[in-house]
Assembly symmetry: C2
Homo-oligomer: 409 residues x 2
């Protein structure tokens, strides 16, 4: 990972993962839900950690999401452990699914020695299929005895479904009071695999952060990172993003230190979130769509998201075609009022449209940029001073259609 955060406060590290911060342990194993590969992980705090979480906004919520929301509500943001399985989403499984999710929490709580409501559950995999509970039960019992400190790289592998590579990293946050660490991992290829439902993200820190502040930091972070990626606009039934703070570093985050915490969480989450897009099924390019000169931030994000989700823009990027007409037409239907004659469109920094007219002479230069793997699309809506926002997406390839058309058949 590269250092995209300001060197001033938050430094991303090439090494490390979810349990690099002090006060956490993990164990991952193959329980038998998948035919092979790691498929179950327990993440545990040495003592009860403060917690914040964001879950899918989809009305159709998987059982583990419903259960975890209930537990967080009851404890007011206190978590001792998280059990995660891959291979089965436990979504659309009715009352039996809720009972299974509850059993997972109880089994982990019993093995670790904490109240069941201090355990969160996350599942990812096929929708509409029941969990193999005997496999899960024996997996939880074994994993609870095997919890170890360290980077937690096997945890990052155990939560994968069709991910092409694990996504993990750490960031060290330096403050006047001393340093603390944030470790993170994520899985998913955006919403590219809804039946493998879908995005899971975890951010652990050894700072001391009370639940309300941690929740605010997680919202601020998600807004700029995990909620700013899209693969195909489909949001899943299981999306979960969880932050835990063990406090083991002894560094307390208050309002003065808060910006450093958010900077660190954002720096790490941006790496994890863009890695999800980069690793998307069928994806060959990471595309940053930045809209500036917008009347407000939410308008900028709406236009950027509409461009990022346009099939015609995504196929043009895939085909290496700097098609500013498709970009402008997508912006024009986003529902945000602007004057097309004052808009500008750039691809890879090359100006292609301005004052209502194309710069077709610049097209070859923009086409050259589209041969790369990291693409920049910039649209200025012409308001001054205007707000801006970036959404990350990927190109749309025939491979995507093949994967999602052939899956399950």
């Amino acid at each position: 990972m590269t250092d995209t955060a300001s060197a001033r406060m938050a430094v991303l590290a090439a090494e490390g993962g979810i349990t690099t911060p002090l006060g956490f342990r993990s164990a991952a194993l193959h329980s038998g839900i998948k035919t092979s590969d790691l498929d179950l992980v327990i993440l545990a705090a040495d003592v009860t950690a403060t917690a914040a979480a964001l879950f899918t906004s989809n009305l159709v919520k998987a059982a583990p999401v419903v259960l975890s929301q209930e537990h967080l509500r009851r404890t007011g943001g206190r978590v001792r452990a998280i059990v995660v399985n891959s291979g089965c989403a436990n979504a659309c499984t009715g009352d039996d699914g809720m009972r299974d999710a509850r059993s997972m929490a109880t089994m982990a709580a019993d093995a670790i020695g904490c109240p069941a409501e201090e355990v969160l559950v996350a599942s990812t995999g096929v929708i509409g299929v029941a969990l193999d509970m005997p496999a899960i039960a024996s997996g939880i019992a074994t994993a609870a005895r095997a919890l170890t400190r360290g980077q937690g790289s096997s945890a990052a592998r155990a939560i994968m479904t069709t991910d092409r590579f694990p996504k993990e990293g750490t960031v060290t946050v330096r403050t006047e009071r001393g340093s603390f660490t944030i470790g993170g991992m994520a899985k998913g290829a955006g919403m590219i695999e809804p039946c493998m439902a879908t995005m899971l993200g975890f951010l652990f820190t050894d700072a001391v952060v009370d639940p309300p502040l941690l929740h605010r930091a997680l919202q601020d972070t998600a807004q700029q990172t995990f909620n700013a990626i899209t693969v195909d606009g489909d949001s899943s039934t299981n999306d979960s993003l969880v932050a835990l703070a063990s406090g083991a570093s002894g560094i307390t985050v208050d309002e003065a230190i808060y910006p450093a915490l958010v900077e660190g969480m954002v720096a790490l989450s941006r790496e994890l979130a863009t890695a999800i897009v980069r690793g998307g099924e069928g994806a060959t390019k990471l595309v940053a769509v930045t809209v500036s000169g917008a009347p407000g931030h939410s308008e900028a994000q709406t236009v950027a998201r509409t461009i990022a989700n346009s099939l015609l823009v995504k196929t043009a990027v895939h085909g290496g075609d700097p098609n500013w007409g498709r970009i402008l037409a997508a912006a024009g239907r986003a529902g945000v009022v602007f004057d097309p004659a004052r808009a500008m469109v750039r691809v890879g920094g090359t100006l292609l449209f301005e004052n209502g007219l194309p710069h077709d002479d610049a097209s070859p230069q923009a086409a050259e940029h589209l041969q790369g793997e990291t693409i920049a699309i910039d649209v200025d809506l012409g308001f001054s001073p205007g707000a801006s926002a970036t959404i990350w997406t990927c190109d749309l390839s025939a491979e995507y259609v093949r994967i999602n058309g052939e899956y399950r058949t």
Copy 2:
């Protein structure tokens, strides 16, 4: 075309087209905008017709759209002729584009002998390229001398861009006062080809209809037909739907006859609109997504549209996979509140999800249905009595990606 309208009032005919109704003539020719094929057409009323039109809601509007809106505003809905070219959209062409659109109207008006503001202009083809005005000028002069009565099938061919087949038809509307005819034609493959911007539709009738009533009928019709199709959710800069009434049949449409007019326009427009989806680039299946049991009509349409635009649903249909999980997850993110436990999902009439649980035993029967070319997806949101709406879409194939990724390069 089959008779989908009630036999009581409106009867669809297998033969006939845009100028089958009395009082209209047309001429189509190859002017040179395209390298070959018909690319220019004049549609003319014998005397000034009443008119109504709907145009793209995209902020980025092509010059012919802006000009036609201006002309209709000035005349209050009176039109003598329409000039249409394919091969060049005259969109994003700045002041020069407006001047060219205005010239087209003036040249046609001069040749026919009417005020320029009684001429509408429609263009479809590549965005950001200037019209070949010498070719257009000579084409308009020649076509204006060649106007003939009849079906107008060459007009339906002249407005095609990458359409695989022309789309035209007529409907005879029987009323107590006598019969009148509606002829129609359309082009476009949905929004599948935004650079070939995009949907044009024309409905001519020989009934006597005043402009406000014709406008209301066109809105009622579009709502159920042309505005209820989607290919990829991208709306173009040139979309135009125009209705003209010549009055030549002598049958006057008032409030008593209005339902028959709308029934006829809807029956014809449904055929034309679904033909657009069927003929979409890369499309192999026509999919009717019907949402019922919704709290209101607009909520039903919102959910149906979200399902119809879901890449994951469209790829699953393409792959023959009756993936109710993707359908339900798309419904869940549409922004309409419902209880997933009360929802039902059917594919080809086969119940796949009910009471929060799948009916996986029925999966083979639904998979069999997906082998066909006309697919029915039905979702009941569980409100009673509920509203319903249908959106027509197509499957998403690797061929779509290939076409839109390779276009222009």
